[in-house]
Amino acid sequence: MTNTAWTRKDLLGLEDLSREEIELILATAETFKEVSTREIKKVPALRGKTVVNLFFEPSTRTRVSFEVAAKRLSADVINIAVETSSVKKGETLIDTGTNIQALKADIIVMRHNCSGAAQVFAQHVDLSVVNAGDGWHEHPTQALLDIFTLKEKLGKIEGLNVTIVGDIAHSRVARSNIWGLSKLGAKVTVCAPKMLIPAGFEVFPAQVTHNLDEALAKADAVNVLRMQFERDGQTAFPEQMEYFRNFGITEERIAKAKKNILVMHPGPLNRGIEISSEVADGQNSVILEQVTNGIAVRMAVLFLVAQARDRKNAIANKKRPRN
C-alpha cells in the first residue's frame, strides 16, 4: 500500500490540510479498521520503527489509543510522561526533542499544554511529529476519528449539519473539528454560553448560537465537549447546574431533535454536567464506537507520516553524492 498523495512527515493540525488529504486519511483508516477485527490484530507496516508517546499533559485515553495503534502496526512503543514542572526547571522542549531524536526514534506523538508546541517541536527535529493535542489549538486525530465515525454511520459528510456544544474557547477538539468538517462540506454550528465563544471567532467557518434547542433542531450529529469548571480561576463562570440546565444534553432535548441524531463525546464524560447518563448510554450515542475508530484513524496517521518521512529520506539519500 503506497499513498504518494500524502507528503507530510508531520500531522500538526487540520487547518492546513486539504480536503483530499483528509479523505486520504479516512480511506486509509477504513482499510486499517479491518485489522482490529482479525484474530491476530497485527500488520507489519511499521515493523522496526519506534514510536514515542511524549506526553507533557496526562491523558490516559489518547495515549493508550496511540499505543494500541502503533502496536497493531508492529512498531515499538515508548511512553514518556514529562512533568511540566521539571520542564520549567531546566530541559527545554527542544532539548527533549533532540534527545529523543538521538535515540533514533521515528515518530513522536506529542501532547502538550501550550498551543503551538507541536509546531515548534517539528521545526527542530526531523522525525515525524503527530500532534496529540496542543493547548487550546488543535487535536487533529480526535477530529479525524469523530469525522470517521460520522461518515461510517451516516455515509457521507458533505451537507451534514453538525453541532458542537461546550467550552469552545478552550477546546482544541472544537477547533480541529470545525476545520475538518467544513473542509469536507459539512455545516458546523457551535453552541455555548457567550463567555465561552472567544473574541474574533468569525475566523472559523462555523455558525454561533447560544440556544441549544435551536442548535439541535437541524443537527444530524451533536459533538458534546467536556466541561471544565476549574479552568484558570475565571470568575462569573456559569454554575454546573445552570450549565446543565441550559446546555446539558438530556433525553428531552434529544427527543425534540432529529430521530437519528448521533451523539458524540471525546471523553472522559462528566455525567450530569454536559451530558446525562441516559443519553450517553442511549441509542443515539456512538461514544464507544468513537473509541474503537480512534485506533484505526491513528494507525492510518502513523502509517502515512512514517511513509512520507521514509520517502523524503530516500530522496535525500539519492541526492547525496556517493563518493
Binding site: 487547518e15 527545554t92 498551543s115 527542530h124 484558570d232
Partner: protein, 428 residues
C-alpha cells in the same frame, strides 16, 4: 581633529535645512554647514548621493546591563546602535539592580564610562525595585544624572502614587515615561486578543489593557498639572485618546516602535516567538492608525524598544517565551522602507521622529546639525537594500522580528562626538 563631509543632502529639521551641503566638524562639534567648504587640513568623506542626518536618539532601549549581560551589554548594545545610525540611547531602568537609587546609577555610569560606544542616557525607575509601592527619591536621581523616569515593563498601578510621581517629577524637571498596561486586564495573555489568538488557541491581551491605562495616565497627569510621555503606542484607541488630549492642551507626548507600523498580529501565525512583544502586535486597523498618528503628529517619536533575549528564552513554547524584539539595527531602515518610501513621511519628518523630537522630549542637547552642536551624525545611503541576517546582527541577542526581511537604507558612517565610530560593516 577636523573632518569634512562633502556634498551630501543635509537634513536638519531644527534649522529647516534640506539641501546639498558640506559639513565641517572640528573638535567633536559641528563647526560649519554651508556650500563648498574649502578643504583645509581635514579628513574628507565624500557624501555625494547620500543623506546626512543627526545621529538618531533612541529613547527606548533595554541594554540589560547590569544584571543580564547574557542578553546584552552596554558595549554590544551601543555597537548595535552605531550600526543603525543611533548615537544616543535612553537605557531603561529594568536592570538588576533596578535603577532606583544613586548607587545603582553609579554602577551603570561606571560601565558606560568604560564601555559605551555612543551616548547613553539613563532612565531611572519611578518606584523602588519597580514594584509600584514606594517612590524613588526623584530629586536625588535627577541630580545623579537620570534624564527620565519609568518602571517600563510595568505600569504604576496605584493612582495616588502615580500622581505623586508626576508631581515630584514636575518639580524636578524630569520626564515620566509610561508603560501603559493594566495587568488585571492583560495578565496571562501572550498576543493580541482577536481573530488570530482565537485561531491559534493562544490567550489574548485585550486592547483595553493598553488604552485604558493611557487614558488614566493622561488624566492623572492633567490633574497634577504635570506631563507624561506614553511609550510604545500600539493600538488605535490609544492614538485617539492622545490626539484628543493634545487637542485639549494636555502636556503629553508619545512614541511608537517600528514593529507597530510594520507588522500585525498575523505575523504570530506559526508561533514565531520573535513576534511576541508587549504591547502585542495588533490588527491592520491599528497599524493604519499608528501610521496616521505618525503622519498627523499625534505620535511624536519613533523608538525601538530594543528588547534583547537569549535563544533559551525565545526558542521555547510561545506561552513561555519572553516578550520583546531587538530593534536598534533595523529601526531607521524600517522608517525608510515603511514610511518614507511609501510616502507617509517626508525625510525631514522622519528625521524629526527619530532625532529632533526625542531630544526635545528628553530635554537633551541632541538631534540637530546646527553649527555648534555635538557632531553626532549618520550618513545614509537611502536606496541601498539589505536583508536582515541573524549572523550579521551585532546585538548579543538575535531575537529580531525582521529576520529575513529585505529593507531599504543602510548606514554608511556613524559619527559620534566628531569621531567616525562606524563605517559600513566596520566598527572603530
Amino acid at each position: 581633529m577636523r573632518l569634512l563631509i562633502k556634498n551630501g543632502r543635509v537634513i536638519d529639521p531644527a534649522s529647516k535645512t534640506d539641501e546639498i551641503l558640506d559639513v565641517l566638524i572640528d573638535n567633536s562639534r559641528i563647526a560649519n554647514i554651508s556650500k563648498d567648504i574649502k578643504n583645509g587640513s581635514s579628513q574628507i568623506i565624500d557624501a555625494t548621493g547620500k543623506i546626512i542626518i543627526p545621529g538618531i536618539v533612541d529613547m527606548h532601549v533595554h541594554l540589560r546591563e547590569p544584571g543580564r549581560e547574557d542578553k546584552e551589554t552596554v558595549l554590544t548594545g551601543t555597537l548595535a546602535a552605531l550600526k543603525g545610525g543611533v548615537t544616543s540611547v535612553l537605557a531603561m531602568a529594568n536592570t538588576n539592580p533596578a535603577m532606583d537609587c544613586p548607587e545603582s546609577l553609579d554602577i551603570l555610569k561606571q560601565i558606560i564610562k568604560k564601555s559605551a560606544k555612543c551616548n547613553v542616557y539613563i532612565c531611572a525607575a519611578i518606584t523602588k525595585k519597580r514594584q509600584g509601592r514606594e517612590l524613588v527619591n526623584i530629586a536625588r536621581l535627577k541630580k545623579s544624572g537620570a534624564v527620565a523616569l519609568s518602571d517600563d515593563g510595568v505600569s504604576v498601578d496605584e493612582k495616588v502614587l502615580f500622581s505623586k510621581a508626576v508631581k515630584k517629577a514636575k518639580q524636578s524637571g524630569i520626564l515620566i515615561i509610561c508603560h501603559c498596561e493594566d495587568l488585571r486586564l492583560s495578565g496571562g495573555g501572550v498576543m493580541n486578543l482577536g481573530a488570530v489568538s482565537t485561531r491559534l488557541g493562544l490567550k489574548g491581551i485585550p486592547r483595553e489593557s493598553e488604552y485604558k491605562r493611557v487614558e488614566r495616565d493622561i488624566i492623572l497627569a492633567k490633574e497634577t498639572l504635570g506631563s507624561v510621555h506614553i511609550a510604545h503606542v500600539s493600538c488605535k484607541e490609544s492614538v485617539d485618546i492622545i490626539a484628543q488630549a493634545k487637542k485639549k492642551g494636555a502636556k503629553v507626548t508619545a512614541e511608537t516602535a517600528p514593529h507597530y507600523f510594520t507588522l500585525t498580529e498575523e505575523a504570530v501565525s506559526g508561533y514565531n516567538t520573535n513576534m511576541k512583544m508587549n504591547p502585542p502586535l495588533r490588527t491592520q486597523a491599528d497599524r493604519q492608525a499608528i501610521i496616521e498618528g505618525l503622519k498627523s503628529g499625534v505620535i511624536d517619536a519613533i523608538a525601538s524598544d530594543h528588547a534583547p533575549h537569549t535563544v533559551n528564552e525565545k526558542d521555547v513554547e510561545f506561552d513561555r517565551a519572553e516578550f520583546g524584539t531587538i530593534g536598534l539595527e533595523t529601526s531607521l531602515s524600517l522608517g525608510i522602507t515603511e514610511l518614507v518610501d511609501k510616502n507617509i513621511l517626508t525625510w525631514p519628518e522622519l528625521v524629526k521622529k527619530f532625532c529632533l523630537n526625542p531630544s526635545k522630549i528628553l530635554k537633551i542637547d541632541k538631534g540637530t546639525l546646527r553649527a555648534g552642536a555635538d557632531a553626532d551624525i549618520a550618513i545614509v545611503s537611502a536606496d541601498k537594500e539589505w536583508t536582515v541576517d541573524k549572523k550579521a546582527l551585532i546585538s548579543k541577542s538575535k531575537n529580531s522580528s525582521f529576520l529575513g526581511r529585505k529593507l531599504k537604507g543602510i548606514v554608511e558612517y556613524t559619527i559620534c562626538r566628531g569621531e567616525i565610530v562606524y563605517k559600513y560593516g566596520i566598527h572603530r
